[in-house]
């Protein structure tokens, strides 16, 4: 059994009197593909943003590679934590409309102290099938291309964990299939994927599906058994 990259222990979060997450304990192993599902307001986004280092839980421990995140880092440290460890892919792509596809992808490097590896960038764009749209602006590309651009941007700094917030919610079936196959390839390279999704297709491709209801992990439905066995998956 491999060492967990992310470990949540007894995480609680509430907005006022309303409990959003109630005693959540979870582990995610490197290279696992987990889907968080649940009804609207079930706390899945809150969980994702806690994992992303945006939202400090009211109680509990969040360990990343064995090190506590929120108690260890200050405001600057959380920024550095996100920059070095977390990639984020949004449902609505969140591309900056005044930047070209390539500029959008390069944008996170502004926050990095390291020089941008241009060859790597070109390779990744090529691999994601957006190299030919490098000079195009977001309003002139398709939804699939926009999401692949968002994906390339999220992966630019080579984070070990990628958080996805309904990544295919705005895409058609064919595009969804293409995006998911790219994600699967990335997972094979060791990238840990944690995804909020209602898509049956994605759930089937995931190692496991975590169902959140009223702030509790009420159900755990496994995704593709073969893959789950192969990658050891995430453990709750």
């Amino acid at each position: 059994m491999s060492h967990a990259i992310i470990s949540l222990q007894d995480i609680r979060f509430a907005y006022g009197k309303r409990t959003i997450l109630d005693s959540i304990s979870l582990d995610f192993t490197p290279g696992s593909f987990s889907v968080i599902a649940g009804e609207s307001g079930s706390g899945k986004s809150t969980l994702l943003y806690i994992l992303g280092g945006f939202l400090k839980p009211d109680s509990g421990t969040y360990l990343f590679n064995g090190k506590p995140v929120y108690s260890r880092f200050g405001e600057f440290g959380l920024g550095r934590f996100r920059k070095n460890n977390i990639g984020f892919l949004f449902q609505d792509f969140r591309l900056l409309p005044f930047l070209t596809v390539e500029q959008n992808i390069r944008f996170p490097s502004l926050f990095s102290g390291a020089a941008l590896d241009k060859t790597r960038l070109a390779e990744r764009m090529q691999r994601l099938g957006i190299a030919h749209r490098a000079k195009a602006y977001p309003n002139s590309i398709s939804g699939g291309e926009a999401q692949r651009t968002g994906l390339a941007r999220a992966l630019l700094m080579d984070p070990p964990v990628l958080l996805l917030d309904e990544p295919t919610g705005n895409l058609d079936g064919a595009t969804e299939t293409a995006i998911v196959s790219v994600l699967e390839e990335l997972r094979k390279e060791g990238l840990t994927l944690i995804c909020i999704s209602h898509s049956e297709y994605i759930m089937k491709r995931a190692d496991r599906v975590l169902r959140l209801s009223n702030g509790k992990l009420s159900d755990r439905t496994s995704g593709a058994p073969k893959r789950r066995r192969k990658s050891a998956g995430a453990e709750a």
Partner: protein, 455 residues
């Protein structure tokens, strides 16, 4: 290298964030520029004028130098003689060389450092300008010449005529040509005369080197002594109030004239005493000794009191306007930045996702605000330079400066000091940085999640 790259990227980010709001922020912060212009007017124009007036009111005497004059209210009291109505009224000027010697020992030993005195030339005199325009108009006036010791005279001299004077040839005759210090009150009269007669404005600077002809032994009212004499007086400088009260000429020349005419009382009679004291501590002792000698310290000039008060009122009005404009600018800027933060919260959210901290976002807002403060203060200071220069050139033409323009306005420098510039930059940068940071931080800081999470 990494540091340079880091700084360059941060600068790019600042420009990147500012790009969309440039025009709006420029307009929002325009009030800051206007406010700074008002502040610059206060600091660059009103302050130098006020400073000049104050220095005039306080006179230009060196520090710790007392000016003493005979106390005319007590002179002659109980004196039944009719001597004070004699033509030679030197009895009123009872400061003599014996008193000067006594004054050196006033108080305790070492209290008095030096004693000097001025002497009025006790001869009537008519003055005429040698200037072609002024002389054609027949402008002439009674002159009172006052002998000023070299020690006080020299620092005020601005011409090349020697203190002792020279001889000028005129119609085969040699006449004295001596330097003269013109009191500012005379300048006022000349200025008014030029204005009434539609002549070009007389500025103090243009008078330097101008010759006055003094007809000694005559007066406008018709007095004429048996022996008259012409003297050329070269305007050599200006005497501030509190030093010379008439036309200042070399003391030695005045004494020579008294000797030539056998005016021995006049030769030993002085109108003002200047006593340099060791420190302010000895002042009560010296004043007491002076009072015993029937001398008093004349009140400082109140001539500019009303102007100073008006300027101070103007200063207050300007200050209030500057504060109101500054506050409005800060509100406008704060509003603009709050709007900026709301409109671009997802963009800011992206910055957070890509590794920025909330503090860094605040820093970006503060930097952009500070940048506006810097731009406006730099712009205001740069634009104020030619404006102040232009104002300096036309100072004498400004109607509200009429009274002052008779003084030597070349002394007046309309400019901002380095400290004032630094203060303007610091104040503008701080105000606009805070005005942008506070609302931006409030909007962004409510919940980090709201920046990232979709509605």
């Amino acid at each position: 290298m990494n540091l340079i790259r880091f700084v360059l990227r941060r600068l790019y980010l600042i420009a990147f964030i500012a790009r969309k709001h440039f025009l709006r922020n420029a307009l929002s912060s325009i009030g800051l520029f206007l406010s700074l212009l008002v502040v610059i007017t206060i600091l660059g124009v009103l302050d130098p004028i006020k400073k000049m007036i104050r220095s005039k009111m306080e006179s230009s005497l060196p520090p710790q130098t007392l000016r003493l004059v005979p106390d005319l209210s007590v002179v002659g009291k109980g004196n039944t003689s009719w001597g004070m109505f004699r033509k030679e009224q030197d009895i009123l000027m009872h400061i003599n060389s014996r008193m000067i010697e006594r004054a050196k020992n006033w108080g305790q030993p070492g209290d008095v450092r030096s004693v000097t005195a001025t002497q009025l030339l006790q001869q009537p005199a008519i003055g005429r300008f040698e200037d072609p325009i002024l002389s054609q108009l027949g402008f002439s006036f009674d002159l009172v010449l006052q002998g000023v010791p070299q020690k006080m005279f020299r620092p005020l001299m601005r011409c090349k005529v020697p203190y002792a004077g020279t001889k000028a040839q005129e119609k085969g005759k040699e006449i004295d040509e001596i330097p003269v210090l013109v009191p500012e009150s005379y300048l006022e009269i000349m200025y008014a005369y030029a204005m009434i007669n539609g002549l070009p404005n007389i500025s103090a600077q243009s008078l330097i080197g101008l010759r006055l002809r003094a007809l000694l032994g005559q007066s406008i009212v018709g007095t004429k002594w048996s022996v008259t004499e012409d003297v050329l007086l070269v305007v050599c400088g200006f005497s501030p109030p509190g030093v010379v009260s008439a036309l200042g000429v070399p003391l030695e020349w005045v004494q020579k004239k008294h000797r030539e005419r056998g005016q021995m009382k006049a030769l030993n009679s002085f109108d003002q005493l200047f006593v340099e004291i060791a420190s302010e501590k000895v002042l009560p002792r010296i004043l007491s000794a002076a009072k015993a000698e029937r001398l008093r310290v004349p009140e400082q000039s109140k001539k500019f009191d009303s102007i100073l008060k008006s300027l101070e009122k103007l200063d207050w009005i300007f200050m209030v306007v500057a504060v109101i404009l500054g506050a409005l600018a800060a509100i406008a800027l704060a509003n603009s930045f709050a709007l900026l933060a709301v409109q671009n919260r997802y963009e800011f959210g992206l910055y957070l996702v890509f590794g920025s901290s909330m503090l860094f976002l605040w820093f970006l807002l503060a930097i952009e605000g500070a940048l506006w403060g810097f731009i406006h203060s730099a712009l205001a200071i740069v634009l104020s330079e030619p404006a102040l220069r232009l104002l300096q050139q036309h100072l004498a033409d400004l109607p509200w400066l009429t009274k002052l323009s008779t003084a030597d306005l070349s002394e007046l420098k309309l400019e901002l000091s380095t400290a004032q510039r630094a203060m303007i930059y610091a104040a503008a940068i701080s105000i606009s940085a805070l005005a942008s940071l506070i609302p931006g931080a409030i909007v962004l800081g409510r919940r980090t999640l709201s920046l990232v999470k979709k509605d």
